[in-house]
Amino acid sequence: MNPETTTKKVVAGKLKFETERAAAEAARLAPHRQTTKVFDVPVVVDEGKCISGCHVCVESCPVDCLAIQPEHRKAFMKFDDCWYCLACEVDCPTNAITVKIPFLVR
């Protein structure tokens, strides 16, 4: 897409759009872009202790934030929704799970 054919040229200190309403409309229609950042999550699974094929913790989670990794079928925290309720930790048959209080709450 050639910017010159679609909108006015961007010049510092000048408006790119005819009106602010048009600017807002363009912003609203522009596609969303997402970034990924890996950070410390509350549910930590000791893969040495976690049993392949077991999914007790995944079933226990009230907010469904755990899942099984397809490659070696061990549990991991997939979604950042943990309520630090300890259901997964309590129910794990091999004590493979440690739940940390989320950093913002800790």
Binding site: Q34, S60, D64, K78, F79, D81, C85, A87, V90, V99
Partner: protein, 578 residues
């Protein structure tokens, strides 16, 4: 994800937590040859408010310790008179048999050496607290009973709309939150047990899921009942609780209180006469917290080491067991330091406050065939035992109802419209991630609706909640999990709009902090001794109106009615809240 799971049942229970488990069990017991289907968004073994157990019953009406009439009085006082007493009385009369039934399922309550129920006093007037020191496995016992009686359970299915047939409840539409498969259930009767609207305000920690309530409870039931045309009541009577600061879980006064723990200000002085959670108590708590003598603490460091150990044993194994590691991480030993407290985010929850879908003493909503129990039903301060008891009451009356009602028809148009609505975020994989919209909605709830309230602020908030309809249309999801969070955003928005409109409508202050209006600071019994109810009218608009308080079955004199207005220790008087 085009496939659909179609199910047909006699009784449909939505939500397998405290109320829903009992509703399903009791319905199946009464209908041995019929079908009872329980839908649960999580897994019944660990779902709802008591997923990790409960430390006690806060409102047991045990013969010899309290009478149903006394209990009705106490709850009427704690709610400034705006109650449907017959609904509270039905609970008070039937709750003791519920306790006995729970015992028959294996639940253990604390007894004295002579085998009596070991009742404690926490309320302002009477004694209703019954500890359950081994309450950590209560959900396991309920799950066992669900299986034993033959209730059919579908886990990880989230209902999103109630289907109607000529004005009566006829089933639900929803989806499987793991596979994304659409789920359509046809039922002769629907019992909604979806818990509180627990993701309404944003906790002070800023952590989205750091809520007081189990965050699975996003207000699903409030929203579904509203869209089905049911009346909701007391929505402006918000839930706000005194909690462990940052951790945002209960301390809990009902556990430590009977052992001698109590709430103090920064000077170490007691300032409240009763730690029982009520709006009036919360106002005193809030005044102290935000005043010159704040913050507020729970004091247990004067207790004997054995007593502290016993409190720790209960608090660190039931309800919110991660309290122990939270405090250990901060080096807070109950026996040495005061434990800092704060107020929770706002929510809607009749279990602790009074907001809910309007029900009568039979658990009936204003929509035929639609029943509701637990934290989302309008019986105030009903707690866990209220949820159990009304689960049982709903089951009995729902079974009676289907005896005279045939199988309802299926509204295909409604099913298709709902499929389109809930699946739409999948067509926008790069749309706004649901957690961002949720954060924004809940931050606005804090900014504009959190008490003390004022019309000017709430109107600005309401404008945003209406504008948020457009933002819901921009939500994107790439998997069924996010689809669940997207659907919850709509529930949260609905609850925020209800909370704003109901709070604007009641032009007075009532229930202490729960509905403290800076622009109408006085309680006004002449104009506002009524329920504020709301419903979706025929043209799809949110309509608010006054519903008279039903004649009392237990009378109180003027003095008694104001019984909860003197909760402050006289020597610690403070200025009014700004």
């Amino acid at each position: 994800m085009e496939s659909t799971l179609e199910l047909v049942t006699d009784v449909l229970v939505i939500g397998g937590g405290t109320a829903g488990s009992v509703a399903a069990i009791k319905a199946k017991e009464r209908l041995p040859d019929g079908t009872v289907l329980l839908l649960e968004k999580a897994n019944v073994k660990r779902s709802g408010a008591i997923a990790l157990g409960m430390d006690g019953v806060n409102n047991a009406v045990i013969p010899g310790h309290a009478t149903p009439e006394q209990y009705v009085k106490e709850i009427t006082m704690a709610n400034d008179g705006i109650v449907n007493q017959r609904a509270i009385l039905a609970y008070a009369q039937q709750s003791f048999s519920m306790i006995q039934e729970l015992e028959s399922w294996g639940v253990k309550f604390q007894k004295t050496a002579t085998g009596e129920y070991d009742i404690k006093r926490v309320h302002h007037k009477g004694s209703y607290v019954l500890p359950m020191p081994e309450g950590y496995d209560i959900k396991k016992l309920l799950t066992r009973a669900i299986r034993r009686v033959g209730v059919k359970t579908e886990n990880r299915v989230m209902a999103t709309r109630i289907l109607l047939d000529e004005g009566r409840a006829a089933g639900i539409v929803g989806f499987n939150v793991r596979t994304g498969e659409l789920v359509v259930v046809r039922a002769k009767t629907v019992i909604l047990c979806c818990g509180a609207a627990g993701r309404l305000g944003l906790p002070a920690s800023g952590y989205l899921m750091g809520t007081y309530e189990n965050p699975s409870n996003a207000g699903d039931g409030y929203s579904m009942a509203y869209h089905a045309g049911a009346e909701l009541t007391n929505i402006e009577c918000f839930q706000i609780n005194p909690l462990l600061k940052d951790y945002n879980g209960p301390a809990c006064a009902y556990v430590s209180g009977p052992f001698g723990g109590y709430t103090v200000n920064a000077k170490g002085h007691r300032f409240m006469l009763s730690d029982y959670w009520s709006g009036q108590m919360m106002l005193e708590f809030y005044k102290e917290l935000t005043g010159p003598n704040g913050p507020v603490f729970l004091k247990m460091n004067h207790l004997a080491p054995e007593t502290v150990s016993e409190i720790e044993r209960i608090l660190h194994t039931t309800e919110r067991p991660s309290r122990g590691r939270f405090h250990a991480g901060r080096g807070t030993e109950y026996g040495e330091k005061l434990v800092e407290m704060a107020v929770s985010e706002i929510g809607l929850c009749s279990g602790h406050s009074a907001s809910g879908v309007w029900i009568n003493e039979r658990g009936e909503t204003t929509v035929p065939g639609l029943y509701t129990a637990g934290d989302m039903a309008s019986v105030p301060h009903s707690y866990m035992l209220g949820a159990f008891t009304y689960g049982k009451i709903c089951a009995a009356n729902a079974i009676e109802y289907i005896g005279q009602a045939g199988t309802p028809g299926l509204d295909d148009g409604a099913v298709q419209a709902e499929r389109q609505r809930i699946m739409a975020p999948l067509d926008r994989p790069t749309g706004i991630p649901p957690h961002l919209l949720e954060y924004k909605l809940r931050r606005q709830v804090n900014d504009y609706l959190q008490p003390p309230k004022s019309a000017n602020r709430m109107k600005v908030g309401l404008e945003y909640f209406l504008r948020a309809h457009e933002e819901l249309e921009q939500l994107g999801a790439t998997d069924p999990h996010d689809l669940m969070r997207a659907a919850e955003c709509a529930f949260i928005r609905d609850c925020a709009e209800m909370a704003a409109r109901a709070s604007l409508f009641r032009e007075e202050s009532r229930w202490g902090l729960y509905h403290y209006r800076q622009d109408y600071p006085e309680m006004d019994d002449v104009n506002w001794f009524v329920h504020v109810n709301l419903r979706r009218n025929e043209t799809g608009e949110m309509q608010l109106f006054k519903r008279p308080v039903e004649p009392y079955v237990v009378t109180l004199d003027e003095e008694e009615l104001r019984g909860y207005h003197r909760l402050r220790v006289a020597s610690t008087a403070v200025e009014a809240v700004n």
